[in-house]
């Protein structure tokens, strides 16, 4: 028979755990909303930017730009992994990290070495533990990424790519679908595919002659790095929103599990208590019976 006091202790332990997970769930719920509105407010810029890029690209059909140029060699790639600083969010981080590792293996099979840019403490820890030192790491910003971080990542890869040090850049991150769902995705960042630029063009209605200031080529040259920045920024924002979503789901199921555990422990507790009472009654009855016999 389990000890009554022990059971009572466990119930109160589980109850306080549930209190914590429930609070975390509510905090995450509030943060999802904020993260979502941050994605919303980044949208106008991204859309206008695409429109401008599309317009420019139409006039620079066979544009020559280092970021559009595919390198002949394929020896070194950079994988930007975007995860969170904190855990307790289910498979959010491990999905991305596993995907990034798979990507590294694929690249290795093609004879290319991979460098990691780690965004979020969880990625830094993961790769360090495996003896891989990230070429750049960003910490304590995963829940509120700003354009500064995006710019810094973009600048780094753009410079390395233009200098010919690396031959490709991929980004692995969680795309935010809705509060309950996020999808781990791999996105090719560099080289910028001509098709990306041209697809944007086709979507645009054909406009009359444009004036470029100072020139179409110069505009494109400025625009492409900004385009990369915008992509990175968007990924960071989506990942931040997904993180809160993932945490909310994880904490919700933790809370549910705790509730279930409390129910079953309470049941055990009641059974044990009833057992003890039955025992006592049996003893009293037995004692009384032995007295009557005298």
């Amino acid at each position: 028979m389990p000890n009554l006091r022990d059971i009572r202790q466990r119930i109160s332990n589980v109850q306080s755990t549930r209190q914590i997970t429930r609070t975390m769930e509510m905090v995450a719920t509030a943060k999802i909303r904020k993260a979502q509105s941050r994605i919303e407010s980044a949208r106008p810029y991204a859309l206008s930017m695409m429109e401008v890029l599309g317009n420019v690209a139409r006039f620079v059909r066979d544009a020559k730009h280092p970021l559009l140029e595919e390198h002949e060699k394929h020896e070194r790639v950079v994988i930007v992994t975007v995860v969170s600083d904190r855990g307790l969010c289910g498979a959010f981080n491990s999905n991305i990290l596993r995907m990034a590792e798979g990507l590294m293996r694929e690249e290795a099979a093609q004879g290319a070495e991979s460098d990691i840019i780690a965004f979020g403490k969880k990625a830094i820890g993961y790769f360090r533990y495996r003896g891989i030192e990230p070429m750049a790491s960003y910490r304590d910003v995963s829940d509120k990424p700003s354009i500064e971080e995006a710019r810094s990542i973009a600048t780094r890869v753009i410079e390395a790519y233009s200098a010919g040090e690396i031959d490709g850049v991929k980004m692995v991150f969680n795309r935010f679908k809705n509060a309950a769902e996020h999808i781990a995705e791999i996105h090719d960042l560099l080289p910028i595919k001509h098709t990306v630029v041209e697809d944007e063009t086709d979507a645009m209605q054909l406009n009359p002659e444009y004036v470029f200031e100072p020139s179409a080529d110069a505009v494109l040259e400025h625009l492409l790095p900004t385009y990369v920045e915008t992509l990175v920024y968007r990924a960071l924002l989506e990942s931040a929103a997904s993180e809160q979503g993932a945490r909310r789901s994880a904490m919700k199921s933790a809370t549910d599990n705790a509730s279930e555990m409390i129910t079953s422990l309470t049941r055990t507790f009641n059974r044990a208590r009833q057992g003890a009472i039955t025992n006592e009654i049996a003893e009293i009855v037995g004692g009384a019976a032995s007295l009557e016999d005298e």
Partner: protein, 138 residues
């Protein structure tokens, strides 16, 4: 009612300003450029500086840290890396940034990546000072 331009100033983080206006002035690399209604379609690169927007007797001033402008069918989109309206500029902060950047530039003294970054900071701070210093009351 005169013909107007729908102007929009957006940064990656938010929409800074939208309005129906009569005249827009932006800083391009070859100097200031004014846009009136019925302007030809245009895409241009902006350098750090001031953006002026006029309607009626009012003029709104903004500092931008560089970006792009697109004009199409009386719609003006200004894509700025960073933008603030004159009344929101923290002049003290901009002055400190400017001094820091200048000192640092003196320390380094030669060209390089950091210098490029600092030069941008410096331009941005100066643009804010110019706009914020003279038009903060608007």
């Amino acid at each position: 009612m005169p013909r107007t331009l729908a102007v929009e100033i957006v940064t990656p983080e938010r929409i800074v300003y939208t309005n129906e206006v009569e005249f827009v002035v932006v800083p391009t690399f070859d100097g200031e450029m004014g846009v009136l209604p019925l302007h030809a379609p245009l895409v241009g690169v902006l350098k750090p500086g001031e953006v002026r927007v006029k309607y009626g007797d009012t003029t709104d001033w903004f500092a931008v840290s560089g970006g792009y402008i697109q004009v199409h069918e009386d719609k003006v989109i200004i894509l700025a890396d960073n933008a603030v309206s004159a009344s929101q500029i923290d002049v003290e902060e901009a002055r400190r940034t400017k001094e820091r950047a200048q000192e640092r530039l003196k320390e380094i003294g030669h060209a390089g990546d950091e210098v490029d970054g600092l030069a941008l900071d410096l331009d941005w701070a100066e643009a804010q000072l110019r706009v914020g210093g003279s038009h903060a009351q608007v």
